[in-house]
């Protein structure tokens, strides 16, 4: 077990009334697994990610990483955001080198490793471009390369493809799976898309909103080699997608009624 969330409740500061953002949430993340957190908006799934990363502290309960309490962000837990969060004043290569600079590596070594990461995400040609010159898909690849360069054990992804158009999203989903198989990082992937959760992960944690609670754990036993066109016609996939969809829509309606 790499990380665990144990009886966590989270409230915004000063918000003592009303349902908490997260209520008594518990689950484990195993090393090397690809787990998705799925739910309607407002269910606290991003908050869960930020707690795992150490950016926020729980109101109640504990977050553990390799058995130790999580108090602050760390290189061990990398994060990728929906808005890419690239440093506009740095080129793609320099963005990827950021974490390596913080490690104190010297220039040649940094360039070598950063170059390798850019190649991993398929962006070797864009190394000297500024974010302004890159498309959304390319920016997100840089962001992923940047996080991976710091060699985290856990990669947290907060709806990373939500701001991209459908075709780019499909491409990057396949890229992500390829990178995961190649690097065997542990990935926790937040999304509101049922199809994305089913396609990418091995296990889906389905959440409800207001308060944010875990509704169900759903395994995705579809093997590692997933080919999109085949999978879309696969009965098991269709069934899983349906089941997850029913759960999410039910919880969305419930939270709207509340």
């Amino acid at each position: 077990m790499l990380a665990s969330i144990d009886g966590v409740t989270y409230r915004y500061e000063g918000a003592d009334a009303g349902p908490p953002v997260l209520q008594n949430v518990s689950f484990d993340v195993s090393e090397g697994e690809f787990v998705a957190i799925l739910g309607p908006s407002g269910c606290g799934k991003s908050t869960l990610l930020y707690l795992l990363g150490g950016f926020l502290q729980p109101t109640m309960g504990a977050i553990r990483y390799r058995g130790e309490g999580v108090r602050a962000p760390s290189r061990e837990r990398g994060i990728v955001f929906q808005d890419f969060a690239l440093f506009d004043w740095r080129t793609a290569m320099q963005n990827v080198e950021f974490g390596l600079e913080c490690l104190g590596l010297e220039a040649n070594e940094r360039r070598r490793r950063a170059g390798a990461m850019l190649e991993l995400v398929g962006l070797s040609g864009a190394a000297d471009k500024f974010p302004r010159q890159l498309s959304g898909g390319m920016k997100q690849r840089v962001a992923i390369a940047r996080s991976l360069a710091a060699e985290p054990a856990l990669l947290l992804m907060d709806e990373p493809f939500a701001a991209l158009d459908a075709l780019t999203r499909d491409t990057l989903q396949d890229e992500l799976r390829r990178i995961w198989i190649a690097t065997r990082k542990t990935i926790v992937f937040v999304t509101h898309s049922v199809e994305e959760a089913a396609y990418l992960s091995q296990r889906v944690i389905v959440m409800t909103a207001r308060p944010g609670e875990i509704q169900a754990f759903v395994d995705i036993p579809l093997g590692e080699a997933r080919e999109r066109d085949t999978l879309l016609k696969d009965e098991r996939f269709i069934d899983l997608r349906h089941r997850l969809g029913v759960m999410v829509r039910r919880s969305a309606r419930a939270s709207e009624a509340a």
């Binding site: 962000p73 290189r75 990398g78 994060i79 969060a85 490690l103 302004r132 996080s147 985290p152």
Partner: protein, 240 residues
């Protein structure tokens, strides 16, 4: 289009010549142009321009350095922000030229008073603009840097500072015309050379041509600085 301008210039030449406007108070265009070149040749205009430019550039540079440094303090240290925020808010609208008598009392009538006051003038918009940019950095940027292993020093040096530079450049653009005004006005109120001084002397001696020449030069300086800062912005912010 240029027709209207040509018409105005023509009137400028003809009316004083015909006596419709007192030529002493409003010399014809030709005389003004002649005076301009005469001054240029004699070097008086160039000399005064250099003095004013020197003071402006030094003031802008000092104001920039102080403004950026203080902005860094304001953003990172709460007590500093608490202590100075009301003061800046209160004194921002005040014309800094009202402080000329105080600065002259402290630093005499030489360069120092003028440059320091002008630097103070530049300081305000640069500091405010830089601080606003620093405070406006997205949460996701902060958190990304932290998850990449950036400590406090690295955060300020590698993230906050570069993210604030566009704000600093914007502040510089706002500061330039204000700084020029303060330099010129302080030159107008005391001796010590410079274009402002040349202006007041000329006005005392009823030398209209000289006044127009100085105003024309000031116009060129104003335009020049603006262009320069825009170019500097492009050079520094290569990523925009």
């Amino acid at each position: 289009m240029a027709l209207a301008l040509a018409a105005v210039l023509a009137l400028w030449e003809l009316l004083p010549g015909a006596g419709a406007v007192n030529p002493v108070l409003f010399p014809p265009l030709s005389k003004v142009v002649a005076t301009f070149f005469e001054l240029m040749v004699k070097g008086a205009l160039a000399k005064a321009t250099v003095v004013t430019l020197y003071r402006t550039v030094v003031a802008l540079a000092a104001g920039f350095a102080a403004g950026v440094a203080f902005a860094a303090l304001m953003v990172s240290l709460r007590p500093v922000r608490w202590l100075f925020e009301p003061l800046f808010s209160l004194t921002y609208p005040m014309p800094k030229i009202a402080l000329i008598p105080i600065f002259v009392l402290w630093f005499g009538i030489g360069d120092m008073a003028k440059v320091l006051l002008a630097a103070l003038t530049a300081f305000y918009p640069i500091m405010l603009s830089t601080a606003a940019a620093a405070r406006g950095i997205r949460q996701s940027l902060h958190w990304s840097a932290q998850s990449l292993g950036a400590g406090r020093a690295a955060m300020i040096w590698k993230v906050v500072l570069p993210a604030s530079i566009p704000g600093a450049m914007t502040g510089l653009q706002v500061a330039a015309p204000l700084t020029i005004i303060v330099v010129v006005v302080s030159e107008m109120t005391s001796s010590g050379g410079g274009l402002g001084n040349m202006l007041t002397v000329a006005s005392r001696n009823f030398e209209m041509g000289v006044q127009f020449a100085v105003l024309f030069t000031l116009m060129l300086i104003g335009v020049g600085f603006d262009r320069l800062i825009v170019l500097a912005r492009k050079a520094v912010l290569r990523w925009e």
